[in-house]
């Protein structure tokens, strides 16, 4: 829809109504993110406007020894390990799925994607019972495994998508020149699909870093992750410490978004260069 010199007044009104509505939707999307940042610099102890004064007090709170720092540490232990696991398993599987057709392939693909579909609470309760039986309840290992399961579909999907544009003649060329399949994979395939692997990994990392339902069920206070700490913070005493941690996490999302955009540009460039 665009405004032309010959547009009728009704079209003009409609045009500006439409633009105005879109602006409101964008405002709706951004306002929670924007509102919480100033509150983290509040010198008061309530999450309300107007701010009583400026202070970095709450940043000091979350970064001095205590539950916030512990939970941040736990998240920084669990998320990278879960991401690595998801990336390794997911990349292998995506490469396999693109290698040949085999019976039951669509069923397997559905299985690999399913952790993304099944409601989290069902995953959480299922893992709670199962991990209790095999002794993984309240352990870092259990949490890492659970988050790897949740992250795997993202890696499979992104690597799969990257492989759709991959020219397999390169693999044949490598093989015909006598390279071992592993060498072909690491020197020819992997460098080209790395943007897909990395963006899948970022999704998996963000999933683990934001996941609270499964963690609430299978982790004890010792393994308390950052989302768990935020959850109990919101539930029990909502203080500007939450806003401070939220600001840090928003900065992290901006970083993720930038890296994601960079990866997208890079994979697009590769496609054009070919």
């Amino acid at each position: 829809m665009s405004l032309q010199p010959y547009s009728s007044p009704i079209e003009r009104i409609w045009y500006w109504t439409f633009r105005g509505f879109c602006a409101l939707v964008l405002l709706f999307l951004m306002i929670p993110v924007l509102v919480i940042i100033p509150l983290s610099f509040s010198s008061g102890s309530f999450l309300t406007y107007p701010l009583p004064g400026f202070s970095l007090h709450w940043y000091k709170t979350i970064f001095s020894a205590g539950p916030w720092l512990d939970s941040l540490k736990n998240s920084l232990i669990v998320a990278p390990l879960a991401t690595l696991l998801a990336m390794a398993f997911g990349t292998l599987a995506a490469v396999g799925l693109n290698k040949a057709d085999f019976p039951g392939k669509s069923f397997i693909l559905a299985l690999l994607i399913s952790p993304m579909i099944v409601p989290l609470v069902i995953v959480a309760v299922g893992m709670y019972f199962f991990f209790a039986q095999i002794g993984l309840l309240n352990s870092y290992a259990g949490l890492v495994l659970a988050h790897a399961v949740l992250g795997v579909p993202f890696v499979v999907i992104t690597v799969n998508a990257t492989l759709q544009g991959f020219d397999y003649n390169q693999v044949r060329a490598g093989a015909s020149l006598g390279a071992h399949p592993l060498r072909v994979f690491f020197t020819i395939v992997l460098p080209q699909i790395i943007p897909g692997v990395a963006s899948g990994g970022l999704f998996a990392f963000a999933t683990s870093f934001d996941e609270v339902v499964v963690a609430l069920f299978i982790a004890s206070p010792t393994e308390r992750t950052l989302p768990m700490q935020m959850f109990s913070g919101i539930r029990e005493n909502i203080s500007p410490a939450i806003a401070a941690m939220a600001t840090i996490m928003i900065l992290l999302s901006v970083l993720l978004l930038l890296v994601m955009e960079m990866l997208r540009r890079r994979s697009e460039k590769m496609r054009i260069n070919r």
């Binding site: 579909i117 409601p119 199962f130």
Partner: protein
């Protein structure tokens, strides 16, 4: 690609004997390699995901408590006709097995299970155990009946009989507000005890409402993003992607800050003089809608945007040049082309919405909790795992059915594009 290779070969393979077999072997090897690459993840998911969930679903029909703790009693009771009191054999085996149940936590397990039949059953068992002698000179039926008069009622034994089989449909029925009547037929439970139908309806209403609002807000914005020049739309896309990448809990906390009675929305409205006292906007349905729409809106905008980006503007222009009113051209020419995106976004948002737990738990009131909340509640708070599993089963079935529809639609879209 592999099939193309195989198809181009017949002409050669007729001339060179054995080549066909070699190609077949090579093809088989490729397949095996492909399977070997997928296998680690498939096995990992089966162990860490499929087995735990199947395990949990099994609990919705699992009724093995009495059968495991009192195997002989359970076996004898299934043969009992339920008319007169059971035979002396049942009484004596029951007394024996009740005494044995004290070790190994068996008593707790059957007590919890039997309390679902009759809320006083656990007390009856512990009271009986306290005075149960190791041996008796009378018959066991007399002994038990003298300890507690309820052992002379057939209803007590009928309750035990109902709990005896290895599987039960009581949890699945209860999750739909149904029960087995005394004659075994399925009937609705008392009106004032019906809970779950309301919960399911509420879940569908909230998910449906959230989906509709997302569509109404997302469609115009996706249209704007798809029709603007790329440099501008990329900039505006950040407004969609930044919240998308922001932690769900951060956004939920932000909505509480915005909507609470001393929050920004209420203060603004009061400063403007639109309202006199703060509105209750959070910890009720309004708060749930605000937070859920905000979280799910990007999932509506992104598929819509990707479909709209691929729609050529020439058809709409052709319609207008042929004399169609711009609105008619938009509605009759443009909108039908977006339907695959609308369907994909709608089902995606709906699937995600019906499973929501955290957001309603934080910004909703007691009457805004959805099915997931009750699954968590029965698991953590009351340890009624059968009930948690039954509600979870229905939630999972609904999700998977919707996903099947989504899958069909998205595949069709790809077919059309090809």
């Amino acid at each position: 690609m592999t099939s193309a290779l195989a198809m181009s070969q017949p002409a050669i393979s007729e001339k060179v004997p054995g080549l066909k077999a070699q190609l077949r072997r090579a093809e088989r090897l490729r397949k095996l390699k492909a399977i070997a690459l997928v296998a680690p993840l498939a096995i990992f998911l089966v162990i860490a995901f499929v087995i735990p969930i199947s395990n949990m679903l099994w609990r919705s029909v699992d009724n093995s408590e009495v059968m495991q703790v009192m195997p002989e009693t359970a076996r004898l009771l299934t043969e009992w006709d339920g008319k007169d009191l059971p035979s002396e054999a049942v009484f004596s085996v029951f007394a024996q097995e009740l005494r044995d149940s004290r070790t190994g936590g068996g008593l707790g397990r059957i007590g919890r299970r039997l309390n679902y039949e009759d809320p006083t059953f656990r007390t009856l068992l512990t009271q009986t155990l306290r005075t149960l002698p190791a041996t008796t000179e009378k018959t066991w039926s007399e002994t038990l009946q003298s300890i507690h008069p309820r052992w002379s009622e057939t209803d007590t034994w009928l309750a035990l009989q109902r709990a005896a089989p290895a599987t039960t449909d009581r949890y699945l029925l209860a999750a739909l507000d149904l029960q087995r009547g005394s004659d075994g037929s399925i009937e609705r439970i008392d009106e004032n005890q019906r809970v779950y139908q309301q919960v399911f309806v509420r879940t569908l209403v909230i998910a449906g409402g959230v989906t509709l609002i997302c569509l109404l807000m997302g469609f115009p914005l996706a249209y704007l993003l798809a029709t603007l020049p790329t440099s501008q739309s990329n900039l505006l896309m950040i407004f969609v992607l930044l919240p998308f990448w922001t932690s769900l809990l951060v956004r939920t906390a932000a909505w509480i800050v915005l909507l609470q009675s001393g929050g920004l929305v209420n203060t603004t409205l009061m400063t403007l003089g639109l309202i006199e006292s703060p509105l209750q906007l959070v910890f009720n349905r309004i708060g749930v809608f605000f937070a859920m729409v905000h979280i799910l809106l990007p999932f509506m905008i992104l598929p819509l945007y990707s479909v709209m980006k691929g729609i050529s503007p020439v058809y709409q222009r052709a319609a207008t040049s042929l004399g169609a009113h711009p609105f008619a051209a938009f509605w009759q020419i443009y909108v039908p082309q977006t339907l695959s995106g609308v369907a994909a976004g709608t089902i995606l948002v709906f699937i995600m919405a019906i499973g929501y737990y955290i957001t309603p738990a934080l910004v909703g009131g007691p009457s805004d909790q959805m099915v997931s909340y009750f699954v968590a509640y029965y698991t953590n708070t009351t340890n009624n795992w059968g009930m948690a599993a039954a509600l979870g089963t229905f939630l999972l079935i609904a999700t998977l059915l919707l996903y099947l529809v989504y899958h069909k639609l998205v595949n069709q879209k790809q077919l059309i594009r090809n």
